[in-house]
C-alpha cells in the first residue's frame, strides 16, 4: 500500500479487528468476522459500516436548487428540507458521471454524498458547472466521519444513543440530533436494501477523531443486545448486489445511461433542461437497446464481472458484477443484454472458466421482499 493511502477516523479499530484492503485511496476493512456473518447480520439484525471514504460536497447559496436541477437528473424542486433522494449526474451523452444521494439540509443548503472513487472528478465537475450560478461548492469530505447503520434492528439500536425520536423520521428523511455527546446528522438512507440510517459526525476531521471513535463505539455497544456486527466492504458489496443496486465503475459508468441501467426513475425528463437530458430523450425516442438485468444461477458456479452471457448458442452480453449470494446461497450477477432478451424468466448461460453455466433472468432485488429488505412484513 502506498504511503499516501488515507486513513479514516476508525483506522486503529479496523487494523486491530479486520482484514484490510486498499480501496479508492483509503485503508479500509474488507471483513471483520467474515463477509457471510456480516451480510447476515445486516439482513436479519443490524450492522455498522465505516463509509467515511465517500466524497461529500456542500452546495449553498440562493441558486442552489437551480444549479442542482441543472447538474443532476432528479427533481431537486420536489426535495423538501430534511429530505434526501437518489440521483445521478450525466455527461452530455447521457452517460453516468456518478450516482449519489442528495440531501436538502435547508432551503439553500444541500449535501451530496458520492462514490469514493469519484471524489476528485465529481468535485471538479460540480465546481466547473457551478460557475454561472450564485452558489458555493465546498468539498467537506475531510471534515465529516460517516457510518451506515443498516438492518431491521437499526432504529432500536440507534434510539439508545440518539437524542431525537427516530420513529418520526421516515425513509429518505433526515434530522439533526445529538448522538452521545456529539452533533450528528442522520439520514434514513443506505445502500443495502434494508432499513437503516446514514450517520454523519460533523466537524470531525480525522486529525481529531475522538468524536467519531466515541460515536462508533457507542453504536456498537448500543447494538450488542441486537447482535450488531461491524461490517466491511466485502459485505457492503454483496448486500448492494443482492438488493439489485448498481456499483459505479462496474454496473454503471460514463458509457451507460440511467435508462439502460434500469434507474430511469432518477432522471426526471419532464424537468427543464439538465445536462444529458437531450441524449436521454433521444435514446428514449429511438428505443433503449440494452438493459441491465439480474441473473440467478440455476447450476453450481459463481459468476464474476466481465463474463460472457450466452443464449441458444449466441453471445448476447456481459456481466458487470457477480458474487455468491449469502441469502440465496447461489451465484447471482448483473449483466447488460439486448432489450429483446431482457425478459424475466428467460434462460441464459454465463461462461465461467470456458463452461456455460445455466442462469435465469430475474427481477431486482434478488431476495424475497416479504422476508428481507426495508419493506419486509414483520
Amino acid at each position: 500500500m502506498s504511503q499516501t493511502t488515507q486513513k479514516t477516523h476508525l483506522y486503529e479499530f479496523h487494523v486491530k479487528n479486520a482484514k484490510m484492503t486498499e480501496f479508492a485511496g483509503f485503508h479500509m476493512p474488507i471483513w471483520y468476522k467474515g463477509i457471510i456473518p456480516e451480510h447476515t447480520a445486516v439482513r436479519t439484525k443490524v450492522g455498522i459500516f465505516d463509509i467515511t471514504h465517500m466524497g461529500r460536497t456542500m452546495i449553498t447559496g440562493a441558486e442552489s436548487e437551480a444549479f442542482l436541477n441543472h447538474v443532476t437528473t432528479n427533481d431537486v424542486s420536489a426535495l423538501t428540507p430534511l429530505s434526501a433522494h437518489y440521483s445521478t449526474m450525466l455527461n452530455q451523452n447521457g452517460g453516468i458521471k456518478d450516482d449519489f444521494v442528495l440531501s436538502r439540509l435547508e432551503q439553500e443548503k444541500f449535501l451530496i454524498v458520492y462514490n469514493a472513487a469519484n471524489r476528485k472528478k465529481d468535485y471538479e465537475w460540480l465546481v466547473q458547472q457551478s460557475k454561472t450560478f450564485n452558489v458555493k461548492v465546498e468539498d467537506v469530505s475531510e471534515n465529516i466521519a460517516m457510518f451506515a447503520v443498516q438492518g431491521p434492528k437499526t432504529q432500536t439500536t440507534l434510539q439508545k444513543v440518539a437524542d431525537t425520536d427516530l420513529s418520526k423520521i421516515e425513509r429518505f428523511k433526515c434530522a439533526f440530533t445529538k448522538l452521545v455527546d456529539t452533533q450528528a446528522f442522520l439520514s434514513r438512507t443506505g445502500y443495502t436494501g434494508e432499513d437503516g440510517f446514514e450517520v454523519f459526525i460533523l466537524n470531525t476531521p480525522n486529525t481529531n477523531p475522538v468524536n467519531a471513535i466515541e460515536a462508533w463505539n457507542a453504536i456498537l455497544k448500543a447494538g450488542t443486545d441486537e447482535g450488531i456486527e461491524p461490517c466491511g466492504l466485502g459485505a457492503r458489496d454483496t448486500l448492494r448486489l443482492e438488493a439489485g443496486m448498481c456499483l459505479y465503475g462496474n454496473d454503471i459508468d460514463e458509457t451507460t445511461t440511467p435508462l439502460e441501467a434500469g434507474i430511469g426513475f432518477v432522471a426526471k425528463l419532464k424537468k427543464d433542461s439538465f445536462i444529458g437530458k437531450d441524449a436521454l430523450l433521444k435514446q428514449k425516442a429511438e428505443g433503449i437497446k440494452r438493459r441491465r438485468v439480474g441473473l440467478r444461477m440455476l447450476e453450481k458456479g459463481i459468476p464474476r464481472p466481465q463474463q460472457e452471457v450466452w443464449k441458444q448458442g449466441e453471445r448476447i452480453g456481459q456481466t458487470t458484477s457477480g458474487t455468491f449470494s449469502p441469502i440465496l446461497e447461489c451465484g447471482i450477477a448483473m449483466a447488460y443484454v439486448p432489450t429483446e432478451h431482457a425478459n424475466e424468466g428467460d434462460k441464459v448461460e454465463v461462461k465461467i472458466r470456458d463452461k456455460l453455466i445455466k442462469a435465469e433472468i430475474v427481477r431486482f432485488p434478488f431476495y424475497d421482499q416479504t422476508q428481507y429488505g426495508h419493506g419486509r412484513k414483520t
Binding site: I30, I35, G234, I302, P326, G331
Partner: protein
C-alpha cells in the same frame, strides 16, 4: 494474523502454492493448507478434478472460490487422480473447517514422487516461506 496462528503438521509436504501432500503408500492425498484457507476465508465453491484424469505437478487440479475471490489449486504431485472428495461439492466449508482432514481434495497415484519432492517443502521450510509472505 501471525505465522504462529497456522496449523502446519510436521508429517506433511507442502508446495510453494499452498497445497499439502500426505503420502499413503504409492499414492498421495492432497489439499490446501491452513494458510491458504485462512487467506481465502469462507470458501463457498470448489470445482473438483475428474476421477481418472492424469495430472502433472503444478497443473490446475481445481478451483476454489470464496465470496470475493477465485483461486486455482495446483497439483503438488504428478499422477492419476484415483479418488475425489465429492463431499466438498455440497460442503465446501470443510476446506476451512478441517483442511487436512475432511477438507482433503483428491487422492493421486504417484508416478515419480522423488522428482515431485524436489519442488516440495518440509513444514519448517513452508513456515519460513509464510513468514516472508507476511512481512
Amino acid at each position: 494474523m501471525r505465522t504462529l496462528d497456522y496449523n502446519l503438521p510436521d508429517e506433511l509436504y507442502y508446495s510453494k502454492e499452498h497445497e499439502w501432500v500426505r503420502l499413503e503408500g504409492k499414492a498421495a492425498v492432497v489439499g490446501i493448507t491452513d494458510y491458504a484457507q485462512k487467506q481465502l476465508h469462507e470458501i463457498v465453491y470448489i470445482e473438483l478434478p475428474k476421477r481418472g484424469s492424469a495430472i502433472r505437478q503444478l497443473q490446475t487440479l481445481g478451483t476454489v472460490e470464496s465470496v470475493k475471490s477465485v483461486s486455482d489449486v495446483f497439483s503438488p504431485v504428478s499422477g492419476e487422480v484415483v479418488e475425489v472428495n465429492a463431499e466438498l461439492a455440497e460442503s465446501p466449508e470443510l476446506l476451512n473447517q478441517d483442511p487436512y482432514g475432511g477438507g482433503w481434495i483428491a487422492k493421486i497415484n504417484l508416478t515419480d514422487f522423488k522428482k515431485d519432492s524436489q519442488n516440495l517443502l518440509s513444514a519448517k521450510q513452508y513456515t519460513e516461506l509464510i513468514k516472508t509472505l507476511e512481512e
